[in-house]
């Protein structure tokens, strides 16, 4: 098995994963049979609405599912181990941080307010790199410099409340990287931040990825944000990856009507004075079994078969596949929205900057 992985350079491989939760006596299927390979050194963005299961999916790589949730079926292969079979907390402890680390959405709540930020970075180094005392401290300062914190010696002794949101997120990133992980999962790392800071943090993550040879998984609801950072994009809807491809394929040649909808609803593509494209309806109820294409009830292009049978993946290229019956040879041709066909021209307005 291991040989096969090395050839393809797969670091983590998810197969037929189904995750369920029990809520007030009822069972909800949050992840509906996902398979995904994560390649070494890539950055993969997982994009979807709230409730699409994007956070649950990645939390299962770290054993962070809430106690009422469980992996019902499938496997998560990492480092020749099947993470889905992990039972005890101890097994996860060897993995969390040191192999797979996570940056959370809100830097306001993910740092300990009672400890200096230096202490918190140093802690990670002592725990995961085996350094102690002065050595650990100077290493911690190195990481603070790495993430762009000015006057690191002074800042080392300060508490989280003395930092702005963007600076705190930099500290959180420093802590995550100080664990020396192979995979870094960033769960909405910039959603709580200003646009200007968002751009800086994304650039920082890119730089850190290069320097520390990280494999990064971004989770976001905003397709507009990831064009800059993602090599590949997986679009999630109702607990399933409905389209996956390289960033170029997803932005310039999207195939699933849901991906079209997500793209067209971006205000960057909106035409002034006209309505912005809005997705009608609400995501499906995951307590019920979903028949056919989960997006069909909200899809203006839905075919009859969309309500009856779940579409398989249709392969468009080695890297690009989508789950929509529209790609079936017998499907009628559907025209994409104008804004998507002319995406590059639409961006002209911003080009001068």
């Amino acid at each position: 098995m291991s040989n096969l992985y090395q050839e393809k350079n797969i670091v983590l491989s998810v197969k037929d994963l189904i995750i369920k939760f029990e809520l007030r006596g009822r069972v909800l299927t949050a992840i509906r049979n996902i398979s995904l390979d994560l390649y070494k050194g890539e950055s993969l963005a997982i994009v979807g609405e709230s409730g699409s299961g994007k956070s649950v999916f990645t939390k299962s790589f770290m054993g962070l599912l809430d106690s009422n949730g469980w992996i019902d079926q499938g496997s998560i292969l990492y480092d020749n181990k099947d993470l889905s079979k992990f039972k005890r907390e101890k097994e996860w402890l060897d993995l969390r941080g040191s192999r797979i680390a996570m940056v959370f959405q809100d830097p306001m709540t993910s740092l300990n307010p009672l400890k200096t930020i230096g202490r918190q970075v140093q802690e990670a180094i002592e725990l995961h790199q085996g350094l102690k005392g002065k050595e650990a401290k100077s290493k911690a300062i190195e990481y603070l410099i790495d993430v762009g914190i000015a006057m690191p010696e002074k800042r080392f002794k300060q508490y989280p409340h003395e930092f702005s949101g963007g600076m705190r997120q930099r500290v959180v990133i420093a802590i995550a990287v100080a664990c020396n992980p192979e995979i870094l999962i960033c769960d909405e790392p910039t959603t709580a931040l200003d646009v200007t800071i968002q751009a800086q943090i994304l650039n920082l993550l890119k730089a850190m990825q290069k320097k520390y040879k990280l494999t990064i998984v971004y989770i976001t609801h905003d397709l507009g944000v990831v064009a800059n950072v993602a090599d590949r994009i997986a679009v999630m809807y109702a607990g399933d990856i409905i389209e996956i491809g390289t960033a170029h394929e997803i932005f310039y040649n999207p195939q699933h009507p849901y991906t079209w909808a997500l793209l067209s609803s971006l205000p960057q593509l909106g035409v002034k004075g006209e309505d912005l494209f809005a997705i009608q309806g609400t995501p499906p109820n995951l307590f019920k079994d979903i028949e056919g294409d989960a997006f069909a009830p909200r899809n203006p292009h839905a075919l009859k078969i969309d309500f009856l049978m779940r579409p398989p993946y249709f392969k468009l290229s080695e890297t690009h596949k989508a789950k929509t019956w529209l790609l079936h040879p017998k499907a009628p041709e559907v025209k994409k929205a104008e804004v998507l066909l002319n995406l590059k021209e639409n961006m002209e307005e911003y080009r001068h900057v």
Partner: protein, 312 residues
């Protein structure tokens, strides 16, 4: 077309704290909002943009300067009648629909709370009708009135937030980051509702936001605010075509583009306030082109004019 000034903000300053600890959040800000337009106020967190909005509805007190609505002063000490005058005409939509609705009240009460305050109805029947209409206007069902906020999604909750301003039949709505806490797909719905209401109810908006891509889409004019000072103000298209102030440029460069090729070529511009040499030559509020204002000193004005000529 002559423009009627609806709201006039003149030399507004807002201080927090007193004496040595005083912090000036808004510093000598002036602008007009014309009837029927959407005016955007854009800046980062801590720039004072929200404080300006809150000063207009008198949540924060103005320390200096004044605010006029239809020519009548609405800042400082107001009599009861004046107070009611503002409440009836100026309403606010808050940023986080998860935090801004009373969890223990039913939608019916949340939407009519403003009406109770101004006694804006003659009979219970009239109040019910008004609530029903406001809910319909934002695309919610009248039956929702008997439910509690926790039964709704983020987008629906923000619509309830809009409904409770609409029920007052205001002329000016201050929308403080009304969509930043929402998912992208729901943002579009709320933005569309706001533009539709503007048309059907002839509303005027003050739209406060940090994201220029949203603001470009919805506003007619934009003021860019940095550390309590407005640094540039122009019509939206003009501002995008011809940004002058370096801070505006940095905001523009930070807009994420849904286009990987453009993104890979894009240079992020970070604003450094130290580039200005304002010690000897302090900046002034200059109209560099008709309706296009920028905060600049003499040297910069020359520079901007040259840049303008080259760009245009």
């Amino acid at each position: 077309m002559s423009k009627e000034i609806l709201l006039e903000v003149k030399n507004l300053s807002v201080d927090f704290g007193r004496g040595k600890k005083a912090f000036r959040a808004v510093d000598d800000v002036s602008f007009n909002i014309y009837k029927g337009e959407t005016f955007g106020l854009v800046g980062e967190s801590g720039s004072g943009k929200t404080t300006i909005g809150r000063a207009i509805v008198r949540i924060n007190e103005a320390s200096e300067g004044e605010i006029r609505f239809q020519g009548r002063k609405i800042s400082g000490k107001l009599s009861r009648d004046e107070d009611r005058f503002v409440t009836e005409r100026v309403q606010m939509i808050f940023q986080d629909p998860m935090a801004s609705l009373n969890e223990r009240a039913k939608v019916d009460y949340i939407v009519s709370e403003g009406l109770y305050n101004i006694k804006g109805f003659k009979s219970e029947k009239e109040r019910k009708e008004k609530v029903e209409k406001a809910l319909l206007d934002v695309g919610l069902l009248p039956e929702f009135a008997s439910r509690f906020p926790h039964e709704f999604s983020g987008g629906q909750r923000q619509r309830i937030g809009i409904a409770r301003t609409l029920v007052m039949e205001p002329e000016l709505i201050i929308a403080d980051e009304p969509i930043s806490a929402l998912d992208v797909s729901i943002r579009a719905q709320v933005l569309n509702i706001l533009s539709l209401l503007k048309k059907t109810k002839s509303l005027t908006y003050l739209f406060v936001a940090h994201d220029l891509s949203v603001v470009r889409f919805i506003t007619d004019r934009i003021a860019v605010i940095h550390k309590g000072k407005i640094v540039e103000m122009a019509e939206s298209e003009e501002l995008f075509k011809m940004p002058m102030h370096p801070y505006t440029k940095s905001l523009l460069s930070a807009i994420p583009l849904p286009d990987p090729i453009a993104e890979s070529k894009k240079k992020l511009y970070v604003y450094d306030p130290n580039i200005h040499e304002y010690d000897l030559d302090p900046p002034k509020w200059v109209e560099i082109k008709p309706e296009h204002f920028v905060l600049a000193n003499k040297k910069e004005v020359e520079m901007y004019k040259v840049a303008y000529a080259q760009g245009g």
